[in-house]
Amino acid sequence: MLSSTFRLLTRTSSFIRPVIGSLPRRSLFLKPTLVSFNEKHRQPSMIINHIPVRQSHVHYTYPMIESRVMLVLRLFDKIDGNALQLDSKFAQDLGLDSLDIVEITAALEDEFWTEIPDVDSDHFVTPRHIIQYLCDKYDVYEHVEPVSAGKEYMEEAKAAAERAHHH
């Protein structure tokens, strides 16, 4: 962590150099501080006392949601990691009761920085349901087959265009 402060200071000192005439000399020899003193060029990874914030620009994809959910489930010690599949039921295959599902839901809430009400967590039977619920929450649909009405519409539109072309 100390090396990152030095990197931060060397990077910011390169911006200070053009104004060396106006600033007093001692500002270039500042001791390493814990807070970046150059507000404009702050990068979140460089600050030491960084409070974790929710990044609003996170791009949710289906593989990312699936791997995070399976990781959280694997970390749960009452679940056997080898027996865990996408379609293994919590109650029958993995032997969990409803209190364990509440614990899992709380862990997933912590992982995804979101609230999952008890109304929805009652209907979680397999991990696939959880992943589908989170995909619906974050509007992820790349794993879903597009509705076939689109294909028929395209064919109709193509046929109508050809008819119009031939006339």
Binding site: S98, L99, V102, E103, T105, A106, D118, D122
Partner: protein, 126 residues
Amino acid sequence: MSLTTRLPQTLKQVRPVLSTDHAEAKRRVLNLYKIWLRQIPYIRVDYIKNNWTETRLRDAIKENFMRNKDVTDLRVIDLLVVRGQMDFVETAEIWRQQHNTATMDRRKDTYKKKPFGFLERFYEGH
């Protein structure tokens, strides 16, 4: 919507305490479990003299809930949920004593149990 309008016909003989069917009672129980789980880090800090770890608190809460898992009477379930919620409020508002470890550790129960079985009664002198 008052309670009387929600009662199905069969329940009109016994007045419910809080919930009218098992699904609603289950929702209450799970909600109580969740708020206890969410309170664990604050319990650790508020009662810091006891040096409780997260796993130990989680096991204690789970054990307290599982002790009543065979109850089927709706009114009894509701009363247990209400009592659990009262315990939760007392724990969260730090109305308990700091050294009151009997809440989280049943092995520290100090009252003497009635002797059950021949040998125990023999030791007692019966």
